[in-house]
């Protein structure tokens, strides 16, 4: 039950970028030393502000982009040491659901073809057998058989997201990477898709990497949570550890910034000063020190290591215990 399906160690992704038209080449450290793992049947929620590197982690785990350094292990095998056959099996076992249901489906393909395409790619089913499987999947995600010959533009955002989900499920993956799968959807549709994902997770015993910036969604469906800031994981642990017994000032600030849909719920809000620093020029020492309300001298020079403070509860702050215990 507790076997690890995917894990990364010291994972890095640096993008070369130019600063200005005549500027010198700089390295943008989108992911800067990430260790994480997901167990079978588990949902890991990955949260943090835009640009902190969440999607890049997702793409690295999918093998869509090569890492600059570090390793991704899928069921104990290094992703970048896999042979052709193993690699092809990996591409079947790990599937992705995208944020934007409008641009992620081919507008010239019929829904049946879109959902059936992975069967073709992996040579799994053809002809009437494929059609049967596609219709089975469509029923599972709440689409009728008559939708088989329609085009994506004939569907609403929520339905298109369902099509994307069916497509991802077609080849019975073990791990689903969902990058903000509900943020682009209408308010009253988000709950439907969240429920669908939770049902499918149960039914197929899926593991999930769930990327979102919505703390209420992440609380609802994660078993464990990792919080990222400027390319690094600053805190990780069980849902309850991270959300209710946090050990990092950034987690505290992030949670405190979320407005609560309950009027006049009295709440002490921490307002961070300043903007997210540029990942091209990250602060020295602790990356959060430019905005942290508790920063001290040592924070400007010494990067705090991601340390296990309690069993399976890690945080990267010099003062975790002093501040929060």
């Amino acid at each position: 039950m507790n076997d690890v399906i995917i894990e990364t160690s010291a994972l890095r992704k640096y993008f070369p970028v130019k600063s200005g038209p005549f500027g010198k080449k700089l390295l943008l450290k989108a992911v800067d030393g990430v260790d994480l793992h997901i167990k079978r049947g588990e949902t890991l929620g990955l949260a943090g502000e835009s640009g902190c590197g969440k999607s890049t982690v997702g793409k690295l785990l999918m093998g869509l982009i090569p890492p600059s350094a570090g390793v991704v292990n899928f069921r104990g095998r290094a992703l970048y040491g896999m042979g052709k056959e193993e690699r092809s099996a990996f591409r079947k076992d790990v599937q992705m659901i995208f944020q934007d249901p409008f641009s992620s489906l081919n507008p010239r393909m019929r829904v049946g073809e879109i959902i059936g395409e992975p069967f073709a790619i992996h040579g799994l089913a053809a002809g009437a057998r494929r059609r049967e499987k596609v219709i089975e999947l469509m029923a599972k995600i709440g689409l009728a058989e008559e939708h088989y010959y329609r085009y994506p533009h004939e569907f609403s955002g929520g339905q298109r997201q369902r099509i994307g989900i069916a497509r991802a499920l077609a080849v019975s993956p073990q791990l689903l990477i969902a990058d903000e799968p509900v943020s682009a959807l209408d308010l009253s549709i988000q709950a439907q898709i969240i429920n669908l994902l939770m049902e499918l997770k149960q039914e197929y015993r899926l593991s999930f990497l769930f990327i979102t910036h919505d703390m209420s969604v992440i609380r609802h469906l994660s078993d464990r949570i990792a919080i990222m800031y400027l390319g690094k994981i600053v805190e990780t642990g069980s849902r309850a550890d991270v959300l209710d017994r946090f050990l990092h000032p950034y987690t505290e600030a992030l949670l405190s910034a979320v407005p609560h849909p309950a009027p006049y719920a009295s709440k002490q809000r921490i307002i961070l000063r300043g903007d997210l620093p540029s990942p091209l020029n990250p602060p020295s020492g602790c990356p959060f020190h430019t905005r942290c309300p508790y920063a001290e001298q040592i924070c400007r020079s010494e990067p705090p290591p991601l340390k296990e403070h309690e069993p399976d509860h890690l945080a990267a702050c010099h003062f975790s215990t002093k501040l929060f215990r």
Binding site: D186, L187, E199, A257
Partner: protein, 297 residues
């Protein structure tokens, strides 16, 4: 967006909440009289400080916009001029409406940029929008819209494109400036959390119509319209983690093929035959609590 009746006193906040495409921005634009053709305001009146805005000439309205009534748009990047420095964009309104000299306008713009939390505003004055982060651009938009100390501000999803920690900063800023200037605020959003914390009275929109309007506390404690009720119930905060959320079945209708009856009819758990036939009027049910639903008549 027909049949909207929406009053606002100085220093107060009203919120308009609804799904995307339900007509929130159109409502705001019609207050600003910015509807592009072929859109048209077909009737009604918009009274601001005793004047019906729909009866003003285009010239009078131009003097009103950005001066006594101001607006912050959803997308700061598309509303800022990409080839004009941010400082000059703030200064422009001051020169136009307050007739300040170039030097005076620059000094005033620097001061306002500082007030909205732009660090070293003198140095930032000559920056172009693309050189700033999303949060900073939104602050520039706020500086522009507040430069002339308007009596009313319409903020259309002012923080939707921003992260929560930056959102908290911007909302605090708007609140503070609102207090200082005794300004009325219309906040358009789809975030029920923002509404709960910031607005005195809230209108819920669905399919182009306001379906419920009430003091915010009353609205959350005693939602009457089946859509409002369903929406509040569906929030993850109202279910235990891991349990299925309470959903509203069905899809959001598109506004083009609008049917005669209640726009929520297809998804409503308590509909009756009348609902499909004709649209209910807004009706006052409790003190200041209005709802558009045949259940309440």
């Amino acid at each position: 967006m027909n049949g909207i009746d929406f009053s606002l006193d100085e220093g107060e906040t009203r919120a308009i909440v609804g799904e995307s495409g339900c007509g929130k921005s159109v409502t705001a634009y019609s207050i600003m009289r910015l509807i592009a053709s072929p859109g048209e305001i077909v009737g009604g009146e918009i009274i601001f400080a005793g004047t019906d805005l729909l009866r003003l000439t285009e010239e009078e309205m131009r003097r009103m916009r950005g001066n006594r009534i101001s607006m912050i748009f959803q997308e700061p990047m598309t509303s800022l001029n990409p080839v004009l420095s941010v400082g000059n964009q703030v200064a422009e309104g001051l020169r136009l409406h307050r007739r300040l000299s170039r030097g005076e306008a620059r000094a005033a713009a620097v001061e306002i940029l500082g007030q909205v939390g732009i660090a070293s505003p003198e140095r930032r004055f000559d920056d172009y929008p693309h050189q700033m982060s999303g949060g900073m651009r939104q602050r520039v938009m706020i500086a522009m819209s507040l430069a002339c100390r308007p009596q009313m501000l319409i903020a259309d999803e002012p923080t939707t494109a921003l992260d929560v920690t930056i959102q908290a900063q911007i909302l605090e800023l708007i609140d503070r400036l609102k207090e200082e200037n005794r300004m009325g605020l219309i906040l358009i959003t789809h975030d029920l959390g923002v509404v709960a914390e910031r607005s005195h009275k809230t209108a819920i929109m669905y399919a182009g119509k306001i379906v419920e309007y009430a003091p915010t506390l009353e609205l959350f404690n005693n939602p009457l319209h089946p859509y409002t009720e369903g929406l509040l119930n569906s929030l993850p905060q109202n279910s235990r983690p891991g349990e299925p959320l309470k959903t509203i079945p069905g899809f959001v209708p598109n506004l083009i093929e609008q049917l005669p009856g209640c726009g929520f009819c297809d998804r409503c758990p308590v509909k009756c035959w009348e609902c499909r036939e004709s649209l209910p009027e807004m009706k006052e049910v409790g003190t200041g609590h209005m709802v558009r639903c045949w259940k309440f008549r």
